[in-house]
Subunit: 219 residues, 2 copies
DNA sequence: AATTAATTTTAGATTAACTTAAAAAATATT
DNA sequence: AATATTTTTTAAGTTAATCTAAAATTAATT
């Protein structure tokens, strides 16, 4: 049985290696986990001892098969709980992360498989991130940043690549969420911002970084 | 913010004082929490420091107003999660205690009030124990052990006073749960066991301790 | 290549929660 | 009341997870 802390390290290693497509460094882990590099080194030794990570001094870490299995299971639990909180308890999507962060540590195959069934085996969480199935497999979808659509094209929002409260609240404001359709009406040369139409109704202008964080499929 | 351990101590003190109607002793706490008396003394000092308990060396402990508030909130959370697990996730009642024991430690007013609403403000958990409301008030019901009914009388099961897996599984077997009606058909003088009829259908014989653990209302 | 800067690790301490063993206090028994 | 028993506390030490500060290693820059 792993401690909360150990589980959080595995998840952090998974996320960092996924994002940067290479082994996670001590410093990046320290930043991600809001702790000191010394503490990270300490913990890496322990996780290495337990054969959950491949660790060589000064060389960064990657997950072993077992470490990867555990990290994936944590992500599965996290995202299922997020679906529960949004779909069943009617939380706003910007408020579910911290709660799911706690709920995910409750380990019980039975609990998670029943929750999964109760939620009707969702494949994606409220932010559009894929929920690994019980075997750890993620559903892949064809998606691209809204910023890559051409003027005149329409996309349907599948998810977001940025999870900060500020960003999610902004999307609530302009009434954009997974499922929403967005048509690119005009591109402003000066700063690459976009004039868009939301769900065939409202019009508004969004900055380029916003368009980069919105993942869509062309329709 | 209290640790899991501290919260478990408060709950244990609450339960022991409730049951034995006096201050909880170091030994009873050690037994209840499956630890040593020395560890208990250690923790009592810390909780006393935080003004959550009234503690005098060699004299046992009681909860302060604040300690009582926290313990009651934990019981509320525990019992609401049990309702969720049984009513929504379709767990058997003998399997929910340990999971609720973990879920209860997730602190969020918002989470609990939404869960409460989602479950339709239940007043009792799957074992028939009252769920304190947000203000900490328990609903009181008129109830008595089945063993106190006279021969010929009928009662409706409201809950159980014994929560062991073995007992709950036995009740499943004889198809008794909250809501079930039981008619006393005969009392066996030799060992005070009872011949009963369940839900106007099956007949069976139960021992006196079983009849003591079944709480009913006369109908 | 040598120096500087950044990153990572070690060393040494701290804290919460726990343990065992021995001492102290309270309670029960003769 | 004195003694024995039980209960509780203290003392001393352990372990996981953290920290700060200093040392070691690697990477970057001149």
């Amino acid at each position: 049985m792993l401690s909360f802390t150990e589980e959080n390290y595995l998840k952090a290693i998974f996320k960092i290696s996924e994002k940067e497509k290479k082994s996670a460094s001590t410093n990046s882990l320290a930043k991600h986990l809001e702790t000191t590099p010394a503490s990270v080194t300490d913990m890496l030794k322990r996780l290495s001892e337990k054969e959950l990570i491949h660790y060589e001094r000064y060389r960064g870490v990657t997950l072993t098969t077992e470490g990867n299995r555990i990290a994936t299971s944590l992500i599965r639990r996290h995202r299922l709980w997020e679906v529960f909180l949004v779909d069943k308890l009617r939380f706003d999507w910007e408020h579910v992360h911290d709660l799911a962060e706690e709920l995910e540590h409750i380990y019980s195959e039975e609990l998670i498989s029943r929750l999964d069934a109760f939620l009707n085996y969702p494949k994606f969480d409220p932010h559009g991130d894929p929920i690994p199935n019980a075997e750890g497999r993620f559903t892949i979808r064809n998606q691209m940043p809204l910023s890559e659509l051409s003027t005149g094209q329409t996309g349907q929002v599948l998810g977001v690549k940025e999870h900060s409260n500020a960003f999610l609240r902004y999307l609530n404001q302009i009434r954009v969420k997974p499922g929403t359709t967005i048509k690119i009406e005009e591109r402003i040369d000066f700063d690459a911002s976009l004039r868009i139409q939301v769900d065939n109704r409202e019009h508004c202008t969004i900055s380029y970084p916003v368009a980069q964080a919105l993942m869509v499929k062309k329709i």
